[in-house]
Amino acid sequence: MLRIIKERLHQQYRTLDYPNRQPALSPRFLGRPELAPVSCGACRACFQACPTGALLPTAGREDGTPTLDMGRCTFCGECRAVCPKGAFTFTGQHRMASFTREGLLVVPGQPHAEQPTPPRCALFRRSLKLRQVSAGGCNACEADSNVLTTLVYDLGRFGIDFVASPRHADGIAVTGPVSENMRLALLDTFNAVPQPRLVVAVGACAISGGLFRDSDQCNKGVTDLLPVDLFIPGCPPNPWTILDGLISLQK
């Protein structure tokens, strides 16, 4: 007993008072990208380097910096590495979640706009219970969701919990590209959640299929299958990105 108390004193109090205090992330962390408008001419190096096809021609500016779709981006930084004009910057900003799919598009020269929380989320402002469904995920998104229940993040103090039964849940948090073998189980779980209910897509795979979008064994994430209320990009998203996203549902 004394041994436990002594060790308890050593281990200290570790919960971060988020969002009042911001976490210190690795200087090498690749967060929200920013794109500078440049003239690309015939250069398509970034298109070829991107493993998930996250770069799209910018509407109306076909010869200029492409638009980056964070919903597909794995934040590998290859586009930044190959761009001869230095158009890509990855900031250290971890706040990236969006209520709309279009909100994940980073358009060159267009500043990031904060989105208001949709009114339908207000019901869950002080108590949000989510059933997590892993559907073909590689266990990285799952691990970084699970870690929110540890004492650094302490998800429970926001009134948010991961629960065991869909019957106890206000929505589902989906990870993975939705393998064909998990599609029915995912839909059955969603249908078991009482209405009104939310769908949160966590990670590039769940949003767009990610690296597996071309696999004949996978769907292209949950976006085409269910109405998604919150998109949390990343491969996997940093736990602070997920926490920030979940908290944004409560505002």
Binding site: H10, Q11, L25, S134, D144, S165, G176, E180, F212, P239
Partner: protein, 515 residues
């Protein structure tokens, strides 16, 4: 064909033999203590309708030698499982992927098709949808093994579990609280990874394999890069070897820390459970200091690494790791000093040495049964000093043994990290970038193998190139592939309430198995 584990083998040096000869070869070598690393269907060409034969790779830990053999194209062969149980899952996989039937296999069930694949197919068509060109279920769903009797009841769990974990289905045959048999049906995470590796561009293989099992990103990425380097004859700088080892050992520390916390949690010993959850994150954040990603995505490149550390960064990392190392040692020692914890772990989830050997179990779970298998020592990736580290072996085969192996390996990993960071701080960072991989530089018609001791155990990748230097076959064998059956065996004779604890003590990967 015998060869050193670092060498590649031209297919011309592996003349095809008959299935009987391969069976004899396999039995003879396994009897001499060799292990079956891989057994898979090897097509004759990239043509979709090509016929396939079998190809097997074995390893002898004591001599550092590998042996490989292939057969002529087959329709069926006499199952080797009855006399060589290590082949059981490989043969099932071959039947599923190639339709080559192992005649006489005692349990010829699908490996990755889910039990309700037929239902899924029917429902999809009824809803007017189209199946993504997924292959049809090979046959009617294969029933679960059933124990008959008036007092027997069955418990079915999954695929969606009561936690934030991956999907899988568990079927228990119980007599009261006692588990007579557990059958584990996986496949829900199947993403078609191996097919994407052989059909897609070579440059996409690394990011895909980093996602083979997210918690073993560095392990699988290392296995892939080493395999390509062996094929291309590329020499990796010692500094890059050290950076890779830092990534691997950080991965081991993070996962062992998390697992020890989870074992504490399922024992009801909450202090260690909550501390380790946090300390695991500290090790993941140290990995993020190395490459920006907590799981080590983007750390490795063909020929080296994508990141380096200067002297200041080494010192900072060393400082972090010493602090986290002290924290985890303290947290785990508190647990291991608690009589009630030891009482709960002792004798639970026992796997005998003989069972572990017969099933071909690997890694931490095999070492807990007394098998001295550790690819870091038997098949080292580079001749870096090992700093008094050794395969950590326990003999009791229970949850306690798996806990102690992990606990001892924490110290080893910390020592290796200290040594590597000290060395890296003393010499200047690499000036030149790793060489780019040219797909054409891979030799045609060649087999290569890589083995990496990930935190769960030995990760094995086997690649065979065709006449055009593209992959004819790329096999990914996660340690979970061998060890899931070990978990099923561990449950026999235990109570169903022991399952969570046993499961945590193995902590196997679903997606690493399902691919």
């Amino acid at each position: 064909m015998l060869f050193d584990y670092r060498d590649t083998v031209p297919l011309a040096g592996m003349p095809p033999v008959s299935a009987e000869e391969m069976g004899d070869f396999l039995r003879r070598y396994l009897a001499e203590g060799w292990r079956l690393l891989a057994l898979f269907g090897l097509p004759e060409s990239q043509d979709h309708a090509a016929l396939a034969g079998l190809c097997c790779v074995l390893a002898q830990d004591s001599s550092h030698y590998l042996a490989a053999l292939r057969t002529v194209p087959l329709q069926s062969f006499a199952s080797m499982t009855p006399s060589a149980p290590q082949a059981h899952l490989f043969e099932r996989e071959i039947f599923e992927q190639w339709g080559i039937e192992p005649v006489g296999h005692p349990w010829l069930k699908s490996v990755r098709r889910i039990p309700d694949a037929a239902e899924a197919h029917a429902r999809t068509l009824a809803e007017g949808g189209s199946l993504a060109s997924a292959p049809q279920p090979a046959s009617a769903p294969f029933a679960f093994f059933r124990v008959e009797g008036e007092e027997i009841h069955e418990v079915a769990v999954g695929p969606v579990h009561a936690g934030v974990i991956e999907p899988g289905h568990f079927r228990f045959q119980c007599h009261g609280e006692n588990v007579l048999h557990l059958e584990i049906a996986l496949g829900y995470q199947h993403r078609g990874l191996e097919r994407m590796l052989t059909r897609g561009p070579l440059a996409r293989c690394l990011p895909l394999l980093e996602c083979a099992a997210g918690d073993t990103t560095v392990g699988h990425a290392t296995a892939h890069c080493v395999l390509l380097e062996r094929l291309a004859g590329c020499v990796v700088a010692p500094r890059a070897h050290r950076l890779r080892r830092i990534g691997l050992e950080l991965e081991r520390l993070a996962n062992h820390t998390g697992d020890l916390g989870a074992i504490a949690g399922d024992t009801g010993f909450l202090p260690t459970a909550s501390w380790n959850g946090r300390i695991r994150g500290d090790f993941l954040n140290a990995t993020a200091c190395l490459c920006g990603n907590r799981f080590g995505r983007g750390l490795l490149r063909f020929g080296g690494t994508a990141c380096d550390l200067n002297a200041d960064e080494c010192a900072d990392m060393l400082h972090r790791i010493r602090a986290s190392g002290r924290d985890v040692r303290g947290a785990v020692d508190v647990m291991l000093h608690s009589q009630s914890v030891l009482e709960r772990l002792t004798g639970t989830g026992y796997v005998s040495r003989e069972t572990a050997q017969n099933l071909g179990m690997v890694g931490m779970a095999a070492r807990a049964c007394g098998l001295k298998i550790d690819a870091r020592f038997h098949f080292p990736l580079a001749d870096l000093p090992n700093r008094d580290c050794a395969p950590r072996v326990e003999t009791s085969g229970d949850v306690l043994a798996r806990t102690l192996v992990r606990s001892n390996e924490l110290d080893d990993s910390l020592r290796l990290l200290e040594a590597d960071l000290d060395t890296l701080a003393a010499i200047p960072p690499l000036a030149d970038q790793a060489p780019a991989l040219d797909a054409a530089s891979l030799p045609p018609d060649t087999l290569a193998v890589s083995q990496v001791e990930g935190w769960r155990g030995e990760i094995c990748h086997v690649a065979v190139t065709g006449p055009d230097s593209r992959f004819l076959a790329y096999k990914v064998i996660d340690p979970s592939f061998h060890n899931w059956t070990g978990l099923a065996m561990a449950l026999r004779g235990n109570q169903i309430s022991d399952f969570p604890l046993c499961n945590k003590s193995f902590n196997l990967s679903y997606c690493g198995y399902d691919l």
